[in-house]
Symmetry: none
Subunit: 268 residues, 2 copies
């Protein structure tokens, strides 16, 4: 059962503290500091840095001003996958969502969803590198994509400015009036889905449906599909059960193959 979202400052603040801001490969320490300050002004506290060019760094501390606590508790991880571990919901912010991102939310809708999710789950807000933003592969790992609707002639938001707008919208969503939606089953975590995808990859290779030398974006497509679906834990179990059943069959088949020498037909 999903608890109703309280709108008293303390509860709203608790929801904001459940949000983690993930900066993917930030190149300038000053931007990390300014982002930390932007977060702290809006009551967000948890910063995760994926493979930063330099951290810790004096520039980051200088730009954070009084928000060094956010830097002190920041986690540094090697990959976006590591940054998303433990989350059930993750929003990738992209100025120009590429083809792979099917559905793009507004920031305001994303904020409402994130604060709703935060009542029962860990939520990540994911920002790309200064120059090029999030890659297709990064976006495919997020459960949704949102765009800050900027001036189409000049959408060059500074990284900390983007964090500032998003943190602001989160704060308004958390501390304003809102109604929560229908109860959900237990949602699969990032880790559940990563394990499912690993399993699927092994099985599809064994099935000779996936050629690891020419993967042709099959796994990113599946990852994106699963992310969009918002898989439930029981659904992950069903899918893994199917995979395990196929694995058994393949294993038996390999034995038969050795016995009979029949060539397995290659799927186109």
């Amino acid at each position: 059962m999903t608890p109703r979202v309280e709108t008293s400052p303390r509860d709203g603040q608790a929801l904001l503290e459940r949000l983690r801001v993930v900066l993917v490969r930030p190149s300038l320490p000053a931007n990390i500091g300014a982002a930390a300050r932007a977060m702290h002004t809006m009551g967000l506290a948890r910063l995760v840095l994926v493979d930063p060019a330099r951290f810790p760094d004096a520039d980051a501390i200088a730009l954070a001003r009084g928000a060094t606590a956010v830097l002190d508790t920041a986690r540094v991880v090697p990959t976006l996958a590591a940054a998303l571990a433990g989350t059930q919901s993750s929003i990738g912010f992209s100025a120009r969502p590429r083809a792979l991102a099917g559905r793009v939310q507004t920031v305001r809708a994303a904020a409402a969803a994130a604060i709703g999710d935060a009542t029962s789950a860990e939520v990540a807000l994911v920002f790309g590198t200064e120059m090029s933003g999030l890659s297709n592969n990064d976006l495919a790992q997020c459960t949704s994509v949102a765009t800050i609707a900027a001036n189409p002639d000049y959408s060059s938001l500074n990284l900390a400015a983007a964090v500032q707008i998003v943190a602001w919208e989160m704060r308004v969503a958390a501390l304003g009036d809102r109604v929560w939606d229908a109860p959900r089953f237990a949602v699969a975590t990032h880790d559940d889905i990563a394990t499912l995808l690993d399993h699927a990859e092994r099985t599809l290779i064994a099935l000779r449906f996936l050629d690891p030398r020419r993967p042709r974006r099959l796994l990113p497509r599946l990852r994106r599909l699963f992310a969009r679906a918002g898989l439930e834990r029981e659904e992950v179990n069903i899918l893994r059960g199917i995979l395990s059943r196929i694995d058994e069959l393949i294993e038996r088949d390999l034995v038969s193959f050795e016995l009979t020498g029949v060539i397995l037909p290659r799927h186109a």
Copy 2:
């Protein structure tokens, strides 16, 4: 009376261009540049500087990045009164409104009012100096006062960050929080999905994962998952390709079974 705001992009943009951002006695040229950039990202163009410490300045140009046009057309005036000349409405933004400020609006309410006013009048958005904000005397010259609801324990918004949030709210008020839809792949029809589910049912029965005498809601669960995912046609083709590959394997396995008489293990 506030006229209705048209929401077509051209009209909304015209309203944004009627807003002037007034920075009162900014001390750091870098903040002027960053504020210009923040304005330009949201389609605001008119900057007025009241008695700046240094302007023009290389730091301002550096921080403005591609938004130097805003700096090039910026007006420098000696007093706030001069900056407000010609306006009918002016909003002073203050983190901690003093006694003199009677009614304090939220930023969102202020943005709706400003965009409404801009249909028929000149509107100023007024920001104070970095260290101390707007003085009582400054606030008394504005027609209304608004506060960015920040973290009460740390409301130290950078000047450009405050401009960014306000410009963002103005843009959303003028144009809506709109995003273009990313190009989507062709969406699967109901019939595509029905065919996929029929295929999945046959294959799962053949796999002995699904027992037709005790189906245990497996197919309704899959149907629900696919419906929620909003499958694309290409994804249906990928999933049916996987099913077909399993079918081939099962067929080969059945032949081996007949040859060898091995009992296929039942999956739990």
